[in-house]
Symmetry: C2
Subunit: 611 residues, 2 copies
Amino acid sequence: MNLLSVKRILVGKPIPTDQACHECLDKPTALAVLSSDALSSVAYATQEILLVLVAVGTAARWWSLPIAGAIALLLFIVISSYRQTIQAYPKGGGAYIVAKDNLGQYPGLVAAAALLTDYILTVSVSVAAGVEALSSAFPQLLAFEVPIGVVMVALITWANLRGVKESGRLFSVPTFLFIGLIALLVAVGFIKAAVVGVPPGEAFIHPTTGSETLSLFLILRAFASGCTALTGVEAISDGVPVFRPPEARNARITLTWMGVILGSMFLGITGLCYLYGAVPKAEETVVSQVARQVFGTQPPFSLLYYAVQFATALILVLAANTAFSDFPRLSFFLARDGFIPRQYANRGDRLAFSNGILTLGLFSSALIVIFQGDVNRIIPLYAIGVFTSFTLSQTGMVVRWWRRREPGWVRSIALNGLGAFATALVLVVVAVTKFATGAWAILVLIPALVWLFTRIKVHYSDVASQLSLDHSQYVPRRLKQKVVIPVGGIHRGILQALDYARSISDDATAVYVDIDTQSTEAFIERWGKWTDVPLVVVPSPTRSILEPLLDYFNAVESTCQDSVMTVIVPTFVTAKWWQNLLHNQTAFLIKSALLLQRRKVVVSVRFYLDR
Amino acid sequence: MNLLSVKRILVGKPIPTDQACHECLDKPTALAVLSSDALSSVAYATQEILLVLVAVGTAARWWSLPIAGAIALLLFIVISSYRQTIQAYPKGGGAYIVAKDNLGQYPGLVAAAALLTDYILTVSVSVAAGVEALSSAFPQLLAFEVPIGVVMVALITWANLRGVKESGRLFSVPTFLFIGLIALLVAVGFIKAAVVGVPPGEAFIHPTTGSETLSLFLILRAFASGCTALTGVEAISDGVPVFRPPEARNARITLTWMGVILGSMFLGITGLCYLYGAVPKAEETVVSQVARQVFGTQPPFSLLYYAVQFATALILVLAANTAFSDFPRLSFFLARDGFIPRQYANRGDRLAFSNGILTLGLFSSALIVIFQGDVNRIIPLYAIGVFTSFTLSQTGMVVRWWRRREPGWVRSIALNGLGAFATALVLVVVAVTKFATGAWAILVLIPALVWLFTRIKVHYSDVASQLSLDHSQYVPRRLKQKVVIPVGGIHRGILQALDYARSISDDATAVYVDIDTQSTEAFIERWGKWTDVPLVVVPSPTRSILEPLLDYFNAVESTCQDSVMTVIVPTFVTAKWWQNLLHNQTAFLIKSALLLQRRKVVVSVRFYLDR
């Protein structure tokens, strides 16, 4: 059982089921644990806006300010909307559940498909952005971004397979560190600009004019890119049960706090980038550029710069890590409902949903490799899934309020309706403006996944009905055995198989294919010396081994009324796998043919070779 | 049985054993059938000599004449030597048999390894040269040389799998056509040169000076390249039994004739190439250049040019085809002696040694792909194997004459000794001069193959002794059955497995792993409703399915004294292969674990799903 030992070393000892406990979190810790995905997006959202604008020229950077304002407004709407979801789903209202409950199966599956792709992209984008934060500070790492990203994903996957306990206290450190350092950066940055003045930034040293012209489409595209700042805000409403009671109330307060912090950080960073003239560059992020200018390059203040980059990388890894609990949890729901393979519903012996974790790790590292770890190239794929699930979830809430019409339903519908409308609008903007640069792939993928989900569901239903015992008149039967043993010689392996045949039936016959008269005669003589199991010799004018045997099996089976035929195939097991290549594959051929003939029972009696 | 039907369509109906007849050939037909490999080498041998020489400059072409003379002398020696082999081995004296008989196992295996690589290279070189002959005439084909070559090999492989009857009459057409056309080319070429004068050839229009200097090493290298003209001369001595009686006498006469024809054609072509100033070019062979000049480009005489190219391509394909009988035959001998996998000793149902044919087809087309169908790049690998087997075969003959000392043994030893010495010398020359350009690979491969042969032989001996019934005290045993059926639910598939279990034993127990108390209780109740087979529930605090089951199997087996435990694994067979991915692989895991635990018997009771 070597494989098992390897697994133990890698993954650790099994954890008994009863250790699956909930630890309830106070508000600040819950904020830290559930917001890393949302907050970390300030590390790349501003840069994505600027990237679109500087295609027109560095002068167009001004537009980043109103765009950031619009995104902050959108954030306010979405947060207000999700506060309602928390109230309605105190056990956690993910988009799949909300959409399925209120809109039906297909919208639910669309939300699920959107979320699955979204989680994969969260991991890819966060890890890639984390690596970029590090390589901005240490340009020596630039050449190794892809392998570093893949190793990071592998480490996170491994940690989750072992079953990371989302130990609140430990996990809240990077989040608070990040919030604190960004707050310091923004404060020092604005004060320094007001008091000392701004050191010359990239946009002032190298002003450029690009090939594109400023158009509404381009501004919408910049807005669509910036909307990645909203990714992850749904996490708190998905995770209500981890709060201390009263869960819903605490979650709502935390969500509001999260919105305020995220909005301030995003607006602050965007303002600083404008002030300090940061321009997206392949080798350094805009946050890094700003932090370098604000804190300077002289110790001890430059240490603050490195701290910002480290904290950014850390919170991004943490954000990737949250997808590693979200993706397997959603997979579990989908598998339980029969829309994806059942294996995703199994908890591994460390209590983790190992298959979901492995799938997420594989796909997200594949994306990092395909897009060469370039955040700018992955981002266009990202927002579609997020806003699809936002829209479906908010629309589901609208339908829910309408159906129930509980006190205050008008206000609730208004809030969620606004949320649904705003996110749907953004979805259209993102789909249209980012279509050519990658959004089309997601627009193809989501329906394809939904189709796959329904096909899988149909298959499981088919199997269940074929296996079902409803309306079945089962009467246990006492069958007799007719045993047939194809033999090609007589040796220890064969004698062992004959003993086994006799142990299951008194009616055992060996069958030998006659290819060459001389050897057959010698064989018959030898057979008689060693055993009294009857031997049937079948002729083979064409030297085929298989066909005469199959004909004989059919002939025997046609005589079975109250009995069942068992074919016993004596099989070698060689000591080393490659030695298998050295043996006639007759046993394998016979077994394959019996499978193709849809025979119910084939017995391998194995003889293990030591050398 | 769909696969079988496909095979029938591709390969044809089985051929009964008694149709394996010998048709004996008269001398001219035998010459045609057995000499295609040897004669076809004039299509490339001269070109290979010139290729080395023109690296010095077109003026160095003169050296091709004495080199061709030396090769003709070598041919005379080798032919004289093989005439002796025919006399001593009237049943066919291949190098493997002659070397094994007279020199022992290892020299025999070296000869075998040399021959196997040689046959593969024969196919690659012949097909590549055949394609070059065609694309010299039709330059449009130049871009498709590799796919054309691979398709040709595939067609030859396919024809041989169907079992080509080496119908002498049909197969002698290309050989005689080639001999006739080359004779005509040489005759017309020399007459035209003497009477009309020589039209300006490549070497006269574009005289060049290369970077290399004329040295003994370079001349020896040109000689080594030209020695590929000798490949295939052993075919007649390998195939003595196909001659009409008196076989040996007829074979010796035919061999002499073949030597005379091959020598004349080779000297004639080399002379023409010199006279007409042919220089190796990537897009046209030297034979094609000469034929174009001799026959002109105006119809009707240009038709003769195309005829030469077609006949060349045809005889080269025929040469490749002969390797398809030689390789499988040698594989058969090696497999029968236990040096390569036994499968090579099986005749397919079309009487062909299918595995050998497929192996040859695969390796030779791989070489064509790797070397981009370029004869010049494959040739350096070629001659090593040929001259190794020549040397071992002739040395074997010397030892044989010495051991027997029959009348005339001194003359026989002198002839074969000269042959052995000359071919050994050439072997050294080839190995040294071609070492860097590829010969090293063969010099590594041959010992590696010999090592592999001996390892395989050791394995087969090990297996035979483990299975042997010698000194074995076998007493048939009457064992009782204890049947254990792991179950995860109750449905039609399970009930079918229970019926089967009852049919082989009265002592059958189902075993269920308790992962979750609630479902287990529901299951126990359901179980009792449907069957009275006893149910054992084993706990699994870590939710592992496998470990508690394996523990239980071990516990049951430890109570077996006069009985044997059988594990029956109820298994689904899905209607489509991909549906397998959708089912828990528990059955597969259990079977794998039982294999690792070296259990002798596992029974799959299959439930076939229709949808």
